[in-house]
Amino acid sequence: MAKYITKRVLRSLITMFIIITILFALLRMMPIEGYFENFDKMSSTQIQVKLNALGLNDPLPKQLFNFYKQLLHVDLGESNVYRKGVAITEIIADKIPISMKMGLIAMVISLALGLPLGILMARSTRTRFKIGDKLGTVFIVLIEAMPSAVYHILIQFAGSQTFIGKTILGLPMLFDAANPKSYILPLISLSIGNVAYYAMWLRRYMVDEANKDYIRLARAKGVPGGKISRRHVFRNAFVPLVQYIPNSILFTLMGSLYVESLYSIPGMGGLLVTAIKRQDNTLVQALVLIYAVISILGLLFGDILMGIVDPRISFAKKEGSR
């Protein structure tokens, strides 16, 4: 196990290095306007002086080397447009807690709703008309099939513009940290996709599990149905889902690009969208790299946790296996 983890961590580090290098090279192709606050008013000499000062005229390997040196000092450079001259690490430090808070609440909601929905649907497949299963499937298909960009808009629209949402509940259209009501719509948007996701997979795994022989034996022995589905079916069916949880926690760091900018929540996801819209190259670069690193870490944790939760997964390479 320890050997597997070391190997997996080393691999991730190598992947991370390769990806940072690729992204860094790709980001050099960004339009140079993005390094200046008032590009149009500057003369070409001024522009060259600034580019030299930023080290952007150096050959790529040298830039990359300098960048890694900077990284070791936890320095991501300064923002050029968004908040001129402010260190990016400082900007991000303000944003992460907001994204994380929203993300974690949304995660709790999606687990609290998605898992019971999945269990209900799985149990309903054994009843005569399968009404619960059918209703749940309609919900899941709608959420899965519709592009998320569209249902986020619809949620914002239905919640803040229609008679029930606007007049009766008084839900505001945009986020406001001081107003608890303004949390409701973004939280629905953030969690609804995961509710469908958890319900769909839990249902599928539970239906598979319920057809296994040991469950049939338990039934034949007369173990009550509720106990079977809680103690045996659910526990075993939940294992494959466990690996998504640390990922989801980690990904709350980045926030949701779309939801955050839709409700103007001052978090990480909204920040990337703003940085792109306002063409702040250094900020885009820093955020893109952070995103890439977080997703690699997410995969790594998922794999390791999977091994701990399910002892049947063997890490020793079998002879002759390919």
Partner: protein, 344 residues
Amino acid sequence: MKHLGFHTLRDRATDALGDKLTEQLRSELNGETMTDEELFSFADFNAEEAERGGYSGYSYWRSSLRAFFQNKLAVFFLIVMVAVLAFTFIQPYLPGQKDPLLIHNDEWGLPLNNIPPCEEFWFGTNAIGQDLWARIWSGTRTSLFIGFAVALVEAVVGILIGVLWGYVRKLDFFFTELYNVLDNIPQTLLLILISYVLKPGVSTIIFALSLTGWLGMARFIRNQIIIIRDRDYNLASRCLGIPTRRIIVKNLLPYLVSVITMRMALAIPSAIGNEVFVTYIGIGLPVDTPSLGNLIQTGRSLMTVPVLRYQLYFPVAILVVITVSFYIIGNAFADAADPKNHVK
């Protein structure tokens, strides 16, 4: 017995099957009452009977189609989708259609902007006086073109690389490492980055979406090929000296057609959704190229004004119909193509 519902149902099915078999046997022996001696005597050898074998007239595609058409919901969405697709492509050739880019002015030369749906403009006009009906269908064409193009690239590149990856052992290491690196780059990020770096346009979006879209397909094909490539019938083909290309095309790919079709069907709505997302971030298609993303984005910015909401409703409705149809048809087809579901 109550909580055994599922199993009693299942046993009932088994019983029904058993009864049916007995019934069938009885009807085959219809009326013939044989003595025990006759029943236990040797049968004569009949060359014709010996040739009969167990051929059941099973055809994979016929069974798949039959299973698909038994799914009423899928058939409904198939009809809806065919109707929408057909209309999208013949719409510009119908009489009385307007140019999606033409700005309509009244007799004093003022733009007819934000006119709610009426007889002249079926879906109304937008903020600068363009006909929304024409724009929506033109936008649907753009979005569908993006979707089909991305799905096609995904299929071609994915199958090609997947087959090589799975069948040629020497390439396995290289492709596995390549996959590990590329798969770690979040697709949204790449999409954003490419659209940011390159000039916005239809080709940029197709390029950005195709860049990583093939990964899932390639890995899937690779795994399937590894599972079936050393099956006996493939070994037999190899022993008979059949060239690799023919083995791949004739033995391996037909096995995967159903899943490839399903993945393509699902790639289309996801590409359309991504286009909406990129347009929202502001790095999507330019405004003079109508697309569902553009139209929804415009509609979204107007949703606080109740009288202008028709500009949001119409494009969203079309987009939802298209994506949900593709999703349901894709999944229903995958179910129907699974031979396990052919036996009833």
